[in-house]
């Protein structure tokens, strides 16, 4: 499975699904991460820090472990 973790900085990807359950998954859904939405990886904080994304015209920061829960199909 390709996840958001595999998307390089500056690249875009389309969400295919979200793994996991409970509050965290629901939070991601509510923030607009649903299947079909396009995400852009803006930058990564150094030393394995969080990742900055752009989606739906706003910016979101998430830890890598959360990004690993998001299945994507990469787009150029």
């Amino acid at each position: 499975m390709t996840t958001l973790m595999d998307v390089k900085t500056g690249r875009k990807a389309v969400v295919a699904g979200i793994e996991g359950s409970g509050a965290l998954r629901r939070r991601m859904l509510d923030m607009g991460i649903v299947p079909g939405v396009e995400l852009e990886v803006m930058r990564q904080a150094p030393w394995g820090g969080p990742i900055q994304l752009r989606l739906r015209g706003y910016y979101l920061a998430m830890r890598r472990s959360e990004c690993a829960q998001i299945a994507v199909a990469e787009r150029i």
């Binding site: 979200i18 359950s21 409970g22 509050a23 965290l24 998954r25 629901r26 939070r27 991601m28 859904l29 509510d30 923030m31 607009g32 649903v34 299947p35 079909g36 939405v37 803006m42 930058r43 904080a45 150094p46 030393w47 394995g48 820090g49 969080p50 900055q52 739906r56 015209g57 706003y58 910016y59 979101l60 920061a61 998430m62 830890r63 472990s65 959360e66």
Partner: protein, 695 residues
């Protein structure tokens, strides 16, 4: 007079508080939502002979049952049924903002939208046509610029009008056929039940399909701590109340739910399908009212290229933190001195009048050395506290603090802390009480408890003030700076150690999370910042004439009686001699021990207590510290600084810990942990110092 009740909702960072502050002015009340540790703000506005009660609901992204804020918000809308709901929407971020509005429209039709930050949206090349949005959603949409107060009158008028009218036929979000079919089946099951009388049927059906756990729960509010004005010394948080689950209704529809689950529509699929469908609908209507005028790098992206850069991000962060502390401590020093001088001048004046009235010397001493000295020493910290919180809220409102959390999250993650703990720990440098209150935004109770318990290890502004005065007296020049840096390093190391240790102690096994919006940068409004900073400063001020006045008088009495004996034979001296045994391994004399005990009421009293015990004018912090140099060695002073920084912060913090954790056991644990840790580290410093041949 006619009264209209209007609730304010919106995503975080959309200017909701700005709207609330502008509409209600100083007519505000702050408290807690019954049984919850979520702040409740309400206020009054007057318009054309009407009294309008505005209730500021917590900023949320959704209305799920997963967080306290969201439950409170939706409960208020559904159960308390306000006359109208004002939804503040960020035009620059319209897609995600409308997601909340769509959920709101499923609960009530009496909605008015305040379209804010259209100027910011236009600067990023986005334009929104308010009338088109209004036509589609079938509710009034009013353009506002909350920061400048523009459009707010119109907004309020529209809300009052909606409040007076009957419920309108509201927009019903068209879901895809496979969802509509399930909603209808669930509606069939629910329509003749008691639940359907309390909630809108369609909303209820959707929540039931999502298996929302909160539906059907009845809660009972029970106060556990009686109202006590002084229990609330630092920051007004309302009363501690417990919130007990009274009964859980057996919900109808289980048969249908299990049937759907077997067909591959379990809770997770349902949640995803409904979130997806709402966003699909937004995407579908978006082109009607939103247009991209131009694109290109906006201000936020330009700034973030530097602010979040792997190379420049950290130097900028360090620079801003350094600047913030420099302004709060060094630049504010003359103001603090001015307060001190004012207080001692005032004391002389009052004592002069007392002499004129030939009031006995004892009473004169009580006023001068007890009351004015103690309160004055504390009031000198007011400028520092005020400036710190003005800067803190400026950084928060402007959007920078979220970036700082982004950069600092690697560190939080290493400690197993939730990303949002960062905000709590930073504001603890101002005062531990708001720091502990800031943990309210953490959803996981164990994450919250860990963060609450490590907060006291962070030295607050008054503690840092006392520490720098003592440091300056014992370690002049560059040595002093080195000492302070080493002390701060010790505190950070202990925060790290404690975070890891307390996670074990609390039994937290869940992985901590971090999903945070990085808002667009914008210039905050001064009104908002000053208002927030004033709340913090005022609660500190309030302490001065409650706790601190009482503590100063008690110290004065203990050290002045029996009269005419040397200080070490006074009551305070006797008390100190009992405590000397505990202090001896650390090289503390009885005065230090007494000061440590009294520091518990409020740490900023430590200097004035020492002043009284050393018999120097207590409103000049420099001279107190200098008096200590005759009684202590360098190593002794350093040990004192370490213990002072780490032991129980103050009564207000302990009270807040109890209120926020709701557990006497964990509060006691926190107190014991701080005491043991401070004396253990102090002992290590003494032993280490001896080994190195220091004295």
């Amino acid at each position: 007079m006619d009264k209209v009740r209007i609730a304010l909702i919106g995503n975080p960072n959309v200017g909701k508080s700005t709207v609330f502050n502008a509409l209600t002015g100083s007519n505000q009340q702050t408290g807690n939502w019954a049984g919850k540790t979520v702040e409740r703000r309400s206020g009054l506005a007057h318009k054309e002979g009407l009294v309008i009660e505005l209730v500021d609901l917590p900023g949320t992204y959704s209305f799920t049952a997963y967080s306290q804020e969201e439950v409170i918000t939706r409960d208020y809308i559904l159960r308390d049924k306000p006359d109208a709901v004002l939804a503040i929407v960020d035009a620059a971020n319209i897609e995600r903002n409308l997601y909340l509005v769509l959920q709101l429209l499923e609960m009530t039709s009496k909605v008015v939208i305040g379209l804010n930050m259209l100027d910011l949206a236009r600067s990023t090349g986005v334009d929104i046509k308010a009338h088109e949005l209004s036509r589609i959603l079938r509710v009034p949409v009013v353009e506002i610029v909350a920061a400048k107060g523009q459009g707010l009158d119109k907004l309020l008028q529209a809300a009052v009008k909606v409040g007076h009218s009957d419920a309108l036929k509201s927009l019903s979000i068209p879901y895809p056929p496979e969802l509509e079919e399930k909603i209808q089946r669930m509606e069939e099951v629910l329509k003749n039940t008691g639940l359907a009388k309390r909630y809108p049927l369609r909303w209820l059906a959707i929540k039931r399909l999502e298996q929302d756990p909160e539906i059907g729960q009845e809660w009972e509010v029970r106060a556990v701590v009686p109202v006590q004005a002084h229990a609330d010394a630092c920051c007004s948080t309302g009363n501690a109340v417990s919130y007990d689950l009274k009964s859980t209704e057996d919900l109808p529809g289980d048969v249908l739910l299990s049937e759907l689950a077997q067909a591959g529509w379990g809770q997770e699929e349902m949640e995803m399908a409904f979130a997806d469908a709402k966003y699909q609908y937004i995407n579908q209507i978006l082109p009607v009212f939103k247009s991209q005028v131009h694109s290109g790098l906006n201000l936020t992206e330009k700034l973030d290229q530097w602010v979040l850069s792997p190379i420049w991000g950290y130097p900028i962060l360090t620079g801003i933190v350094f600047l913030a502390f420099w302004v709060s401590f060094i630049l504010s020093a003359p103001l603090g001195d001015l307060v001190s001088q004012g207080m001692s001048g005032l004391a002389e004046l009052v004592v002069g009048v007392m002499q004129g009235l030939s009031i006995p010397e004892v009473w004169q001493s009580l006023v001068r050395d007890g009351m004015f000295a103690g309160v004055g020493a504390v009031l000198a910290f007011v400028p520092q506290i005020a400036i710190f919180f003005v800067l803190y809220y400026f950084l928060q409102d402007s959007g920078y603090l979220a970036r700082a959390a982004f950069l600092g999250d690697r560190f939080m993650q290493m400690l197993g802390l939730h990303g949002k703990s960062f905000f709590s720990l930073i504001s603890s440098y101002g005062c531990n009480v708001p720091g502990i209150m800031a943990t309210r935004t953490l959803e996981d109770p164990k994450d919250r408890l860990v963060t609450i318990l490590i907060n006291p290890l962070i030295p607050c502004v008054p503690r840092l003030g006392v520490m720098s005065a003592v440091t300056a007296a014992f370690f002049p020049g560059g040595q002093g700076a080195l000492v302070l840096v080493s002390l701060l390093t010790i505190s950070i190391l202990l925060v790290m150690f404690s975070a890891l240790f307390l996670r074990r102690a609390v039994g937290q096994t869940e992985r901590s999370a971090f999903v945070m919006e990085l808002p667009l940068y914008h210039l905050p409004t001064w009104r908002n910042i000053l208002q927030l900073a004033w709340v913090r400063t005022y609660s500190f001020l309030k302490r001065a004439w409650t706790f601190i006045l009482a503590a100063s008088v008690i110290v004065w009495v203990l050290s002045s009686f029996p009269q005419g004996v040397p200080m070490n034979e006074s009551w305070a001296g006797t008390m100190g001699s009992w405590l000397e045994g505990i202090g001896r391994p650390l090289g503390f004399d009885w005065r230090i021990m007494v000061a440590i005990v009294f520091g518990f009421t409020a740490k900023e009293t430590t200097l004035s207590t020492l002043g009284i015990l050393y018999g120097v004018a207590a409103n000049a912090s420099q001279s107190i510290a200098r008096a200590m140099t005759t009684a202590m060695t360098g190593l002794g002073a350093y040990t004192f600084l370490v213990v002072y920084m780490l032991y129980i912060p103050c009564l207000a913090t302990v009270v807040t810990t109890y209120k926020e954790s709701g557990s006497l056991r964990w509060t006691a644990f926190g107190v014991a942990y701080n005491l043991l840790l401070s004396f253990a580290v102090g002992w290590l410093v003494v032993q280490g110092g001896h080994l190195l041949g220091l004295h």
